[in-house]
């Protein structure tokens, strides 16, 4: 049993390791703030549908500077280890902006399986739970399952170290209220 369990764990870790991206330098158009070890880049985009020369509809992502209520924004956070030592216990937190509502099931990560766990908060980032366990109490005292718009913060916990010179990507989508 012990051997089997270990054997099962190895491919998952390999999968996680395969998800590291090579560095391609900073994304254009986004201002950057560096720490000593990790460079964290937030990218805000929206999707537009264009018709190409063949008459097909193609979805293209463009940086977003203006938006309307109801527009869906894609927030991507790239974390790059620019130090000479692996970074462990990496935890990424992003508050959902107050005028936006999280889009259900929209989180993404370049890491998979136990290499990343995603938690959600409905109390301003004090507590994080898996999405299905979130509950809220309304003003009448009634307890109900949280809806996507109740979510205030999203957190990604990396279960693996971020190696030197590698980067990883997490993110989610949200609607302008």
């Amino acid at each position: 049993m012990k051997i089997l369990r270990r054997a099962a764990a190895i491919p998952l870790l390999l999968l996680g390791a395969l998800a590291w991206a090579d560095n391609h330098g900073p994304a254009t158009g986004a201002s950057e703030e560096s720490s000593n070890h990790l460079q964290v880049t937030l990218i805000s985009e929206k999707e537009i549908v264009e018709v190409n020369a063949e008459g097909e509809e193609v979805v293209r992502r463009i940086p977003v500077e203006v938006a309307l209520p109801g527009d869906e924004i894609i927030y991507s956070i790239r974390i790059e280890n620019i130090s000479d030592a692996p970074a462990t216990d990496v935890v990424v937190v992003n508050p959902v902006p107050p005028d936006m509502a999280y889009v259900e099931s929209s989180t993404f990560s370049s890491l998979t399986g136990p290499a990343v766990s995603t938690g959600f908060s409905v109390d301003g980032g004090q507590n994080y739970l898996p999405r299905g366990d979130l509950k809220v109490m309304d003003q009448t005292g009634e307890v109900r399952g949280a809806v996507a718009a109740d979510i205030t913060h999203i957190r990604w916990r990396l279960g693996v170290a971020l190696p030197v010179g590698k980067s990883t990507l997490v993110g989610y989508r949200a609607l302008v209220k």
Binding site: A87, A149, V176
Partner: protein, 336 residues
């Protein structure tokens, strides 16, 4: 690394999850307001991590986008059913609601069209009124709408009640329908969704057309609800003073009048039956019945009386529809 994984598993273990289950108290359950034009939406991510066992924090760059003005409108017809009208009636009212479902303040022009196809008759458009007197329903205190003069100005997610008044043609017949549509159009920008009027939104933002195209319509419907009443008068009995049934002087004739709605979907309101006492007869006191209940001969205390001034019987039946039971009036006279 394996230690991290172990912690991760512990954190997602259902038992431990249950222990740390918590509740957030929502500040408000009211409807989410649309974000106002000009509002910036900024975002910044935070990262914590360890290098060589020492914890560190890092922040991302901050991104910002600015919300523009969405020009969007909705028109709904508020009458719960087709509005019942009579042929030839004037200024019949359809009630609509115009709502600004955009996020800015916009001015909307109103128009109505009563010459639509697909109905049985065309109502004749008279006027459009804005609900302004605070009294629900159209009334004289409401304000006549004049295009380009008092176009409603609506803040985001507010609405105005609009009345469309039409005359009903005299030739319309029972159960026929006639449609009239109210259209509200943004005076700022219309067009395919996404059309931009640069810089003409609130606080200098772009005004951008939403799904409605910047204009919306809704059709309201009249239905002719004519009613035809049936009156059937009969002689129920003749009793002469000699025990026979000859209409001789001194004989008592009992009349029966039966009233019902014979046809039509409408309501006959305040139906009143009057029947003169025949010449050469005298009303027999205490002989007036409505649906087997005796009515007093004097006025003012029940549904009917013997009107001595005009020498007739009067019975008030109230409102009658096709569903109402047949109303039976009986009274007697004596041959002079």
């Amino acid at each position: 690394m394996s230690n991290n994984l172990f912690q991760q598993c512990a954190k997602t273990n259902p038992v431990i999850r249950a222990l740390i289950l918590f509740l957030a108290i929502l500040g408000s359950t009211s409807a989410m307001a649309l974000t106002a034009p000009g509002q910036p939406i900024t975002n910044q991510a935070a990262v914590s991590y360890s290098v060589g066992g020492t914890p560190f924090n890092a922040s991302s760059n901050s991104t910002s986008l600015t919300v523009q003005e969405l020009v969007d409108i909705e028109v709904t017809w508020l009458d719960s059913a087709n509005v019942a009208v009579s042929p030839g009636s004037s200024n019949q009212v359809l009630t609509f609601q115009v709502t600004n479902i955009g996020n800015g303040t916009e001015t909307f022009a109103l128009s109505a069209d009563s010459t639509l196809s697909g109905d049985d008759f065309d109502p004749v458009l008279q006027s459009i009124y804005l609900e302004t007197d605070g009294v629900p329903g159209f009334s004289g205190g409401d304000t006549l709408y004049v295009s380009n003069s008092n176009d409603p100005v609506l803040a985001s997610e507010t609405s105005v009640i609009v009345y469309v008044l039409n005359n009903i043609p005299g030739g319309a017949t029972n159960a026929q329908t006639g449609d009239s549509a109210l259209t509200a159009t943004s005076t700022n920008v219309t067009g395919a969704p996404g059309t931009v009027n640069a810089g003409d939104g609130d606080v200098g933002t772009d005004a951008i057309v939403g799904a409605s195209g910047g204009a919306a319509s809704f059709i309201g419907t009249y239905v002719v609800s004519d009613v035809s009443l049936s009156f059937v008068k009969s002689v129920l009995s003749v009793v002469d003073p000699f025990g026979g049934s000859e209409p001789v002087p001194g004989a008592v004739i009992t009349y029966r009048i039966q009233v019902s709605v014979a046809a039509g979907a409408g309501t006959a309101t305040a139906v009143t039956v009057t029947d003169p006492i025949p010449v050469n007869t005298t009303y027999k006191t205490a002989s007036l019945y409505l649906n087997t209940s005796l009515l007093s001969d004097s006025a003012g205390n029940d549904a009917g009386e013997h009107d001595t001034g005009l020498n007739r019987i009067v019975v008030r039946l109230g409102d009658l529809t096709l569903a109402s039971a047949v109303q039976t009036i009986e009274f007697a006279v004596t041959i002079n």
